[in-house]
Symmetry: C2
Subunit: 152 residues, 2 copies
């Protein structure tokens, strides 16, 4: 996608990432985007950064960070020992929504999974996000599973 670069996030990207996580109907109830940034975000970044099987990524245009997602590379026994790539925390900055950036970013993430030898890419999306469901349907994902959560 012209004028857009995808790359691993650095700690300097954290405020922009948290702002995108918070600028969302579900995110605004559970994130703390104010500065100075909550220590929990810095601790989470350090844990992600220390784990070779986690890839926190950003999309950047000439004006700054405009998208984010996280890929977890998960080894497993099922499917005859298949690695899975799992995508979480997908957000596009308001000024770039509807530009095709989301599709380009997911395609980039899928390519990272392929390069790491994953045989499957998986993600869940809230049943309240109808637009997201149509988006993943269009990208060839299939909603074959129920996604269960238990809060602790």
């Amino acid at each position: 996608m012209q004028g857009i670069a995808f790359r691993a996030a650095t700690e300097d990207d954290l405020p922009a990432i948290v702002e995108m996580l918070a600028d969302d109907p579900l995110g605004r109830e559970r994130e703390a985007p104010g500065m100075p940034l909550a220590a929990a975000y810095r601790a989470a970044f350090a844990a992600i950064d220390a784990d070779a099987n986690q890839l926190l990524a950003v999309a950047e245009d000439a004006e700054g960070v405009v998208g984010t997602l996280q890929v977890s590379f998960i080894p497993g026994l099922s499917h005859t020992g298949a690695w899975r790539g799992q995508i979480e925390g997908v957000r596009i900055a308001a000024r770039r929504r509807g530009s095709g950036l989301g599709a380009a970013m997911i395609e980039w993430a899928v390519a990272q999974c392929r390069a790491r030898g994953c045989r499957m890419v998986q993600l869940t999306t809230s049943k309240s996000r109808g637009d997201a469901q149509r988006f993943y349907d269009r990208l060839g994902f299939r909603a074959t599973h129920e996604g269960y959560k238990l809060s602790l």
Copy 2:
């Protein structure tokens, strides 16, 4: 649960685990339980074992291994930097199905997530597994998400 121990799996447990993965309506089409065990299973076990954020577990009774699941501990930024525990590959040996072992094993896995500071436990289950859905509903999980997969 009386007479049952839950513990991290060792490489010696692999044949029993693979046999359980294969003894399943979906698993029998995608697993290779014959001996000698496919090299891909040994490679997958090595990758799981080398990753401090993966816990492959078994349940054992006096006669041997009778259950398995994998927990992935995933650091993330969303939910103000929450760790998640993710459960995959849940199987109970045919001779112990219907005994309450599945519920005990999930409760043990949830306790591992709690001990690691996770604020959420998540899993997906195929929409074709109606019994599994009722099982997770009973255990307090909520099917709030659509689970998407893309095969590579």
